[in-house]
Amino acid sequence: MLETLQAEFRKAAPAVDFCALRYVEESSEYLAVRQDVAEPPQLGTQRGVMVTVIDQGGLGYAATSDLSPAGMREAMARAHRYAKLTAGRSVVDYRTVAMPRPNGTYRSPVLKDPATLSRRDKYDLLAAESKSCRIDERIVDWEANLWSTDTHQAYFTADGGMVEQEFHFVVPNCSATAHANGETQTRTHAGRYNGFCRQGGLEILDAFGLEGSGRTVAEGALELLLSPNCPSGTMDVVLMPDQMMLQIHESIGHPLELDRILGDERNFAGTSFVTLDMFGKYRYGSELLNVTHDPTRPEQYASYGWDDDGLAAEKRFLIRAGILERPLGGTISQRRAGMEGVANTRACSWNRAPIDRMANLNIEPGKSTMDELIAAVDFGVMMRTNMSWSIDDSRNKFQFGCEWGRVIRKGKLAEVVKNPNYRGVSATFWRSLSGVGDESTFQVMGTPFCGKGEPSQSVRVGHASPACRFSNVDVFGGEG
């Protein structure tokens, strides 16, 4: 199939400054058991190509699900027409962008072959966790689900570049909701929006801890139901990795996207408080803050060998010892901004043009043990599992809510609290980072649903982080 596609592409590619073809085939399976009832399986196969043409300084894209020679030719003609229409009327003369000519292959590491587990076996696993949620009449809803995706992607350039990449994604989840006396609380094993998502095979189910997760979330929901509201005030917080992932995502990842800084997203996703002149000197956080863009961590959700413009992936520091070093910008944005970035030009599928996205955006581990992080807190709250997030369009003023909190009093963990929320400002929050956990506190998380772009794109993103402590944070609880 790929050989035929490549041959057709090379035969039909117009004589232009640059022409590329990106092929994506993605097969998915989503299984769920809710309240002990198996829901019908949802299967899907998406297959299509995106053509890129640069001609006379203009840039055009055309995508089609028609993979016939005629369909490919038509897509090339449409992309070429757009290139000509936008020549001399674009944000940059695209002829001046040195588009990569990559060669190579990438495959997700799979330790346990998914084919060894049948669909019926998977339903049985999910049914067992669903059943184990039923521990109390106050548990009013519960579900276990499993989402598996295989993606086969190829990228050809007319001048001989070729990359083939195969990805295997596994996303398990389990949740329970408890209700009594007008109060509802939900506990999930990794966030209600699939925070535990990785590349690999069935070993991911072991890492997630699927077995036993049903009872754990049910007990957690009941515990929250009986807990007091989170206290309010200015205090220290210790954020666990399943909340850190959203804190990193919203208040480091998005503001450092170079296309936002260049203004492309101002009509929808927003701008950034970060400006081009800040790179190399701006103190983003305390000296404890080290942030990397790392698409090379094998098991992480958004690892790859090359981005969707063919740029080879490498681990890069974005923030080192608190100082801002480089943005999240791919080949085209780097040319526009005149600065180095990373390999992060990505599209959600064949039918969208690539733009600057986070891939794996991680906080490097520090030196504190969990006990040391807690021991330094006189009064504060530990928070787990993101539930709510909101941030302004410059990615500065934010507010987050978590599923679970636990008061820290005089360096010791105390009572569990519900509805923990906190708010702050990105530009100052990271400077209040006062403790970074070591490897023992480090977890690899992510999200399948990072939304951005026009037309809209939801992409996979990975975030790995240790537990982190922040000082003097504005914390508050629910309505009561």
Partner: protein, 440 residues
């Protein structure tokens, strides 16, 4: 596209076995997407896609699979035949589904709305000309959208629309901008030019020194574009039967504790006046209107076929997520022209952004002001606002603190294009509220 859909559906249904039901759903589009930044083009993309979802039912077992197709009949017949056999091979491993419900009564419907859409070259010419000397950033989406449903039980629906949407911002500086939307089925150059002129007039107001407010409670006029964000939160997690029965609805206090919104608030799923198709994924026709909140009291939930079976009530044509697709907030009596005078002193909130729940059970929302939001004194705009966070419950914003809704309403199409172009829309007036709680 319709003959193609019907031929393929007929082909599949001709292969149905006596013990089976075959359901086909088509979702296709041929779209032009053009992004602008700094008054020139950033990206232009054409997307031609055909998506087909095939459902096989045998007894109470159901399996669904979606596939992209080429548009060539022979190749697509072969692809769908192969998919059907795959589903047949797999259905024995699927547990029985006690909540399976499909439309079984033979019925058909058709709606087609043709448009006069502009060629991309015309859009680029007109937008670049209008944006000359300005900082314009925007997004144009245009082309036909097709939705089809067919089942071997004799149910067949078709919905086709040719439309466009162009939303753009004129930026003054940093985060200060005027956002405007021009959407419809016929592009009229003079209408676009008129909206552009109005936006430029507003842009002038952003040149004043911005005002930074302290956290506290303020009078506010929430313009229709901002209201869609608040109503969007209620849509996300408020109206479905499943969320109500599992106590996860953001409006659970209205369902269980007789909490109420203001008597001014009447909300409907108004399919008749929306853009979305009149049928849903299991083939049920949507009623023209479903009352969701009547004069502040919670009314009917949205009931998907699955929830209908699970909870033993009739479906009212809701989608599987039980979210409204044509939400309609009834108008009030405040003339829009008098809104600033009625506000007197407070915030004019042009847009809100990035809303989420800070306490879902209490329907407490948080979010940010965005774009052209202003400080108003004595009924006159005085200064643009620096962005502020609000954190308040819907029971206060649309309840005790709601003073008035405007007489005029805006139809706001959802311009999201995740996977495909949306056909969701909302119709809402603006709202005058007191003690709007700003927190950061």
């Amino acid at each position: 596209m319709r003959p193609y859909f019907e031929d393929l559906a007929n082909f599949l249904e001709s292969r149905v076995k006596p013990s089976e039901i075959i359901v086909s759903r088509l979702s296709a589009e041929d779209s032009d997407f053009i992004r602008f930044n700094k008054s020139v083009v950033r990206q232009a993309t054409a997307v031609r896609q055909i998506g087909w979802t095939l459902t096989l039912v045998e007894g109470t077992r159901r399996i669904d699979a979606s596939l992209t197709l080429s548009g060539h009949m022979a190749a697509d017949r072969e692809a769908l035949s192969g998919l059907l056999e795959t589903l047949r091979a797999g259905i024995a491993d699927v547990p029985e589904d006690p909540f399976l419900l499909l439309e079984t009564t033979a019925a058909s419907s058709s709606s087609e709305r043709r448009g006069a859409l502009p060629d991309p070259s015309q859009v680029i010419d007109e937008v670049l000309a209008a944006g000359r000397g300005l900082d314009l950033v925007g997004f144009h989406a245009s082309g036909p959208i097709y939705k089809g449903f067919s089942s071997s039980l004799g149910v067949r629906h078709w919905h086709a629309v040719e439309n466009f949407g162009f939303s753009w911002c004129l930026y003054h500086d940093r985060d200060k901008a005027v956002k405007t939307t021009y959407a419809g089925t016929e592009w009229e150059s003079h209408a676009f030019a008129g909206k552009m002129r109005f936006a430029q007039e507003q842009l002038g107001r952003l040149g004043e020194k911005p005002q930074t407010l302290k956290p506290g409670a303020y009078r506010a006029f929430i313009a229709p574009a901002a209201m869609t964000e608040i109503l969007g939160m209620l849509s996300w997690a408020g109206f479905g039967l499943k969320s109500r029965n599992t106590k996860q609805s953001a409006l659970i206090r209205m369902a269980d504790q007789d909490a109420r919104l203001s008597h001014l608030v009447t909300l409907r799923e108004n399919t008749r006046e929306g853009i979305a198709s009149g049928f849903q994924g299991e083939g049920f026709v949507r009623p023209e209107s479903v009352a969701l909140v009547e004069e502040g009291r919670l009314s009917s939930p949205l009931v998907s076929p699955r929830s209908a079976r699970e909870y033993g009530v009739p479906t009212n044509g809701a989608n599987s997520g039980e979210t409204p697709e044509s939400l309609d907030l009834a108008s009030g009596v405040l003339p829009e022209a008098d809104a600033l005078a009625a506000l007197d002193t407070g915030l004019y909130v042009g847009n809100l952004w990035y809303l989420n729940f800070s306490d879902r059970s209490a329907c407490r929302l948080t979010g940010m002001t965005r774009f052209a939001s202003f400080w108003v004194e004595d009924g006159r705009i005085r200064a643009p606002l620096n962005v502020m966070r609000f954190d308040d419950t819907a029971y206060r914003i649309l309840g005790d603190n709601l003073e008035a809704l405007t007489r005029e309403r805006d139809l706001v199409p959802d311009d999201n294009t995740y996977g495909e172009r949306s056909t969701v829309s909302m119709r809402t007036p603006g709202a005058l509220v007191r003690d709007f709680a700003l927190t950061l």
